[in-house]
């Protein structure tokens, strides 16, 4: 197996408060890895370390190594890093601009040839399974779309800069079940080309979409393995308790 992402003894702090404790894990290429655990267990912190999103927070610091395709992120310019590691957030956050501009922004700041822009916009929207619904209203404000469409637009926006890895931070927690299932189908489609990591509160979702599952508790990686094994035969007592809903 080839690891797209590797962490070695990764620890992280917000001020004095430790959020991650010595997390070491390898995330495989072209697979979906789900990160589960109760609120405050460090799962969001973990994926926000992967594209150095937490660098934007004062008082945040990390220790240990994060390797993306074998390169330590400490030595990659965060702007370059985020080009290859995209992110989709909990609440759909389209820019208050047209649908077209939402997608075009990323390629444009990375210096795309402007006569290829239309093609990239269409390709990204197609990949995000949104093209057919909105191809006639590319100039409408993105905020007029429904919540589920907005989230797929955010996925298309991330795809447009051609990352290899996409991080999903609870992408469906603000969506209804139908929109959720559309996003899940989309993720299964995307994993052919991309490496996906999804943080989720929804255990069924983890079981449905992911190949591997990691269970975090109090900042520690408790158990990590194939999703089927984690859900059928968890090795750790706390994993089992969490999965069957005894806490969290």
């Amino acid at each position: 197996m080839t690891a797209a992402i590797q962490t070695l003894n990764l620890s992280a702090w917000y001020g004095d408060k430790q959020a991650l404790k010595n997390v070491s894990m390898d995330l495989e290429e072209n697979k979906i890895t789900a990160i589960i655990g109760p609120s405050g267990c460090g799962k969001s912190t973990f994926i926000r370390c992967l594209n150095r999103m937490n660098d934007l927070i004062d008082n945040f610091r990390t220790q240990g190594e994060i390797l993306i395709y074998g390169k330590d992120v400490k030595y990659i310019d965060p702007v370059e890093l985020r080009k290859s590691v995209g992110m989709v957030f909990q609440k759909p956050n389209p820019f208050p601009k047209s649908i077209y501009e939402n997608i075009a922004f990323g390629p444009r700041i990375h210096g795309i040839n402007s006569n290829r822009l239309d093609a990239v916009v269409e390709e990204s929207l197609r990949k995000a399974a949104l093209w057919d619904e909105i191809k006639d209203r590319l100039n409408d404000n993105a905020l007029e779309l429904s919540g589920g469409q907005q989230q797929r637009l955010c996925i298309a926006r991330a795809l447009a800069v051609r990352p290899g890895i996409i991080l999903f931070d609870e992408p469906c927690s603000a969506l209804d079940p139908i929109s959720t299932s559309k996003i899940e189908d989309l993720m299964l489609e995307l994993k052919k080309e991309y490496t996906l990591v999804i943080v989720t509160h929804n255990m069924q979702q983890a079981a449905r979409v992911s190949d591997y599952t990691a269970f975090f508790l109090y900042g520690e990686l408790i158990e990590y393995g194939e999703t089927r094994q984690i859900f059928k035969k968890p090795r750790e007592k706390s994993t089992e308790d969490y999965i069957i809903g005894r806490f969290g």
């Binding site: 985020r82 957030f89 956050n93 820019f95 208050p96 700041i109």
Partner: protein, 280 residues
């Protein structure tokens, strides 16, 4: 009993509101009653004179417009720049906190104090004399804290999720500010700036302090010319014993009010226009 208390309180609030409105209406009516008859095109197009029938506010009106434009040119880039720095670039350290507290305090400093500063700094030390530029620099100092604070509020109102979205696509800080934060904050920034400028247009004290003249029989042609402004002219007329000058002062007040109301209306229109399509 509880219900009665509620009703009484409601009426007390109503009385307070109406008292304020009534007072304002009374002032307006007084100014209108005295000044409307004197408010002619000749009044707008004549220079001041010791004969009330020939006196007008041409130089004061032009002085105020010059002053407003120059003040805007100086204070808006500085104020908005400072707001962007404080909100987007400076970390949340004790130093930024001290700077912000000081800016808030400066917003409460009486305008005459800025006049003294302007007199010492711009008129004397920089040897600008009693020029438009000295006046505009003084006014810029006066409204700078208001511009910074209102721009900061507008920038802070842009949700963090927009910044995150931009960074997550590999945008730099400057690209994020330029393409997303500033456009979204612009209506709020504009509104705050216009309101701050309208404060500058209505101020007399700092201008009197730096020695803006009251009798000017020409319109300024450059930022280095001496000048007068509407509030100074009104103050001057109002302090004369002859009754006709009181009417002239009232007419001047009407012109100043019209200018201020136009600016405030512009601020409201800008805000409403952009509010329609920016919803988070």
């Amino acid at each position: 009993m509880r219900r009665i208390k509620g009703v009484v309180f409601e009426y007390l609030c109503l009385v307070a509101t109406s008292a304020a409105l009534l007072l304002l209406a009374l002032l307006l009516w007084d100014a209108w009653d005295k000044g409307a008859g004197w408010l002619t095109f000749r009044f707008l197009d004549s220079f001041p004179s010791r004969f009330p029938e020939q006196a007008g506010i041409k130089s004061a009106l032009w002085g105020s417009i010059w002053l407003m434009l120059l003040t805007a040119l100086i204070s808006i880039p500085l104020g908005v720049g400072a707001a962007i720095y404080l909100e987007e670039y400076a970390g949340r350290t004790w130093l930024t906190r001290i700077i912000e507290i000081n800016i808030s305090n400066l917003a409460g400093v009486p305008s005459i104090v800025y006049g003294i500063l302007g007199l010492a700094l711009f008129v004397r030390w920089m040897m600008l004399g009693r020029s438009l530029l000295a006046g505009a620099l003084t006014m810029a100092l006066l409204i700078l804290p208001i511009i910074i604070i209102s721009s900061q509020e507008a920038i802070r109102a842009v949700p963090n999720s927009i910044r995150e979205a931009s960074y997550a696509l590999g945008a730099t800080k400057w690209q994020t500010v330029k393409f997303h934060v500033l456009p979204a904050a612009l209506p709020g920034i504009l509104t705050g700036n216009i309101l701050a400028l309208s404060r500058a247009v209505g101020e007399a004290a700092p201008l009197i302090m730096i020695g803006a003249l009251t009798f000017i029989a020409f319109t300024p042609a450059s930022p280095f010319d001496p000048f007068t402004a509407l509030p100074i002219q009104i103050f001057n007329w109002a302090s004369r014993p002859k009754a006709e000058f009181q009417y002239l002062a009232a007419a001047g007040i009407l012109v100043l009010l019209a200018l201020l109301l136009t600016m405030n209306a512009a601020a409201i229109i800008i805000r409403n226009k952009y509010q329609k399509y920016i919803k988070w």
